[in-house]
């Protein structure tokens, strides 16, 4: 579940950054169209990818339930962090992405 959480969270952060308003708030600049597209595609890919560890760990029926729960939780977490601790929200995503290979190695 940890790996799925890390991937979901990073995916949501990427999708969030692909929106002009949040990009401006978090990075103080407007994203270029290429970057916007890259973030959007990357975000969706990460979200799709996160299904795999969840299902791999717990089978389809339970894995999908786990995945949905993690998906909702990571979204809630990000939305709650954004207004209060925007830097932390970004740092968490970075750390999460860096840690995900380790988590993958440890759990899969």
């Amino acid at each position: 579940m940890l790996l799925a959480l890390l991937l979901c969270y990073a995916g949501f952060v990427a999708l969030c950054l692909s929106l002009d308003r949040h990009h401006g708030e978090l990075l103080h600049s407007k994203p270029s169209p290429r970057r916007r597209l890259g973030l959007r595609v990357g975000g969706w890919l990460l979200l799709a990818l996160s299904i795999w560890p969840a299902v791999h760990m717990a089978g389809w029926s339970r894995g999908l339930v786990d995945w949905c729960a993690v998906l909702m939780l990571s979204g809630l977490l990000l939305v709650l962090l954004l207004p209060y601790r925007p830097r932390l929200a970004l740092i968490l995503a970075g750390v999460g992405l860096l840690a995900s290979p380790v988590a993958a190695f440890a759990t899969l």
């Binding site: 339970r62 909702m72 990000l78 939305v79």
Partner: protein, 524 residues
């Protein structure tokens, strides 16, 4: 035309949400608590000690007790303990009377020593579970009302999605400290982010009661005999009748192991032994609901109690049953481990918060118009009072329920009923209080009272039992410790909310004046 449709949907969302919001808030909150039904029961019966779970030992202990105390019973039931609720329950029925259900004798045993426990009488977590779909009403009415509320919730969800103009653009938007705007942001954020849960929980609740709500197809196919439908759906285990010759029942623990082998190591929920003292004794071992997401209503393995011969393994579920079972399983979350259970709990709280914020928005929007004159029309005052009693009042009532559990003497007759009574008395008093006090004062006072009651729960537990946090944490009794800590956390949250209310009321007038103009176009 498009705008007209959206406005119509917004109207429906607003009014369906208001009329059923109070009830739905209570249903969601008590339903959310039901995810920790076992843990709540454990806390409310501190006399039942927590032990490491060992099915073989529990079964042996139960069998020994029943052989001593009910050798001639017609049927035994053994409910095995799990890590969430450590009580080993044994029940027996002296004579099977087909016309009557019940007449069981139930005892609670210590799963290690086998001694009968004198646990205080309480409904425990079962109260919240029952309340969330029966609403403490006589039999069919509560179920009907809660099902209608679920239907309205479903309508409110769909219309809410249609009304919400910028789901993707505002997906990550939450702007705190902006008054009415923040409430709407919060309402949208929890609504959209936790939408899969909301849709699942609401739709599955309708599926669970589908035979009650839409019986037409059953009535048509079975000539109005709904019982025949259920008999066919859940065939009674046709165990052989007693022969009247005394027999010797085998030890049950090896049979349990055999049953588990049939389920690839699945867990056992309970055992039923028919005619335990007879040659024709039979043992039905039922699988625990916590094994799989898809709930199976009758997964059992039957043995002959004297020879140990395997009699029957229940068939695989049919596809429609599996679909129904998966909605049931998803709604109940029996399969969830500790982590997923907490996520369920958080999702439930998010749903409760969505309903609560919706009610606050309805009132806040209309109150702005009357802010200048300072005179509130009757209907707004009514909504305000009901908001107060249904939200902060319910929280106080829940806390009082827990307090009553510890303060009513353990030997007091009908104490279980009195716990429930005190819940409703407290709820009624908060309604009275809401009527008598001015709005903001009432919020601060009720939230403050709730905070004190919840924060003091661990203290109360320490004073009245020997299972305080120091003991339960040291023992690793996470159900007990988790309950205390969650109450403490809830209390702190309520205290923060009360403080926020108090703080805001001081700076309110200036901030309020600047807002109404910008808001008009945005609020749906």
């Amino acid at each position: 035309m498009k705008e007209g449709f959206r406005q119509a949907m917004a109207w429906l969302h607003t009014w369906a949400g208001l009329i059923f919001g109070w009830l739905l808030f209570a249903i969601f909150l008590t339903g959310t608590l039901s995810y920790f039904k076992g843990e709540i029961t454990h806390w409310m019966q501190p006399e039942v000690p927590a032990h490491a779970v060992d099915d073989a030992r529990s079964v042996a202990v139960a069998q020994r007790y029943l052989e001593q105390h009910a050798p001639t019973a017609a049927r035994w039931f053994i409910g095995l303990p799990d890590s969430r609720d450590p009580g080993l329950s044994v029940m027996w029925q002296d004579k099977i009377d087909p016309g009557r259900r019940g007449n069981f004798i139930e005892k609670m045993l210590d799963p290690v020593s086998g001694e009968q426990l004198q646990a205080r009488e309480t409904m425990g977590g079962e109260f919240f579970y029952r309340f969330h779909f029966q609403l403490q009403m006589p039999h069919p009415w509560g179920r009907w009302l809660s099902t209608i509320a679920a239907m309205v919730m479903f309508v409110a969800l769909i219309t809410g999605i249609i009304t919400h103009k910028k789901i993707f653009k505002d997906f990550f938007t939450f702007r705190p400290r902006k008054g009415q705007r923040s409430w709407l942001d919060g309402h949208n954020a929890v609504g959209v982010l936790v939408l899969p849960f909301h849709l699942m929980i609401t739709y599955s609740s309708l599926v669970i009661f589908m035979t009650m709500v839409m019986p037409a197809s059953i009535i048509a196919s079975y000539d109005g005999d709904t019982r025949a439908f259920f008999n066919e759906l859940f065939p009674a285990t046709d165990n052989a009748p007693a022969l009247g010759q005394p027999g010797k029942l085998l030890p049950l623990a090896p049979l349990v192991e055999q049953a588990r082998a049939q389920w690839d190591g699945g867990h056992v929920g309970r055992l039923a032994v028919n005619n335990p003292g007879d040659v024709n004794a039979s043992v039905n071992v039922s699988r625990a609901g916590s094994d799989r997401v898809v709930h199976d209503f009758g997964s059992t393995v039957s043995f002959n109690g004297n020879t140990g011969q395997l009699l029957r393994v229940s068939a695989e579920q049919s596809l429609p049953m599996a679909i129904g079972g998966s909605f049931y399983g998803l709604h109940m979350g029996h399969f969830a481990g500790p982590l997923l259970r907490w996520l369920y709990f958080i999702c439930g709280l998010a749903g409760t918060a969505m309903i609560g914020t919706g009610l606050v928005i309805w009132l806040g929007k209309r109150q702005l118009k009357h802010a200048k004159t300072g005179v509130m029309p009757f209907e707004l005052r009514l909504v305000e009072v009901l908001n107060l009693a249904s939200m902060s009042g319910l929280l106080i009532a829940i806390a009082v329920f827990f307090w009553a559990n510890r303060l009513l003497p353990a030997t007091f007759a009908e104490r279980s009923d009195w716990e429930v009574q005190s819940f409703f008395i407290a709820w009624g008093l908060t309604l009275l209080h809401a009527m008598l006090r001015r709005c903001r004062r009432a919020w601060i006072e009720q939230l403050g009272l709730g905070a004190v009651l919840f924060m003091a729960v661990p203290l109360l537990n320490a004073l009245t039992t020997s299972e305080h946090l120091g003991v339960s944490l040291a023992k690793g009794d996470w159900a007990m410790a988790g309950f205390d800590l969650t109450c403490l956390g809830s209390g702190l949250f309520l205290a923060w909310a009360a403080w926020k209310m108090q703080h805001r009321s001081a700076v309110q007038p200036r901030a309020e004046r600047a807002r109404p103009l910008t808001l008009k176009g945005e609020v749906h």
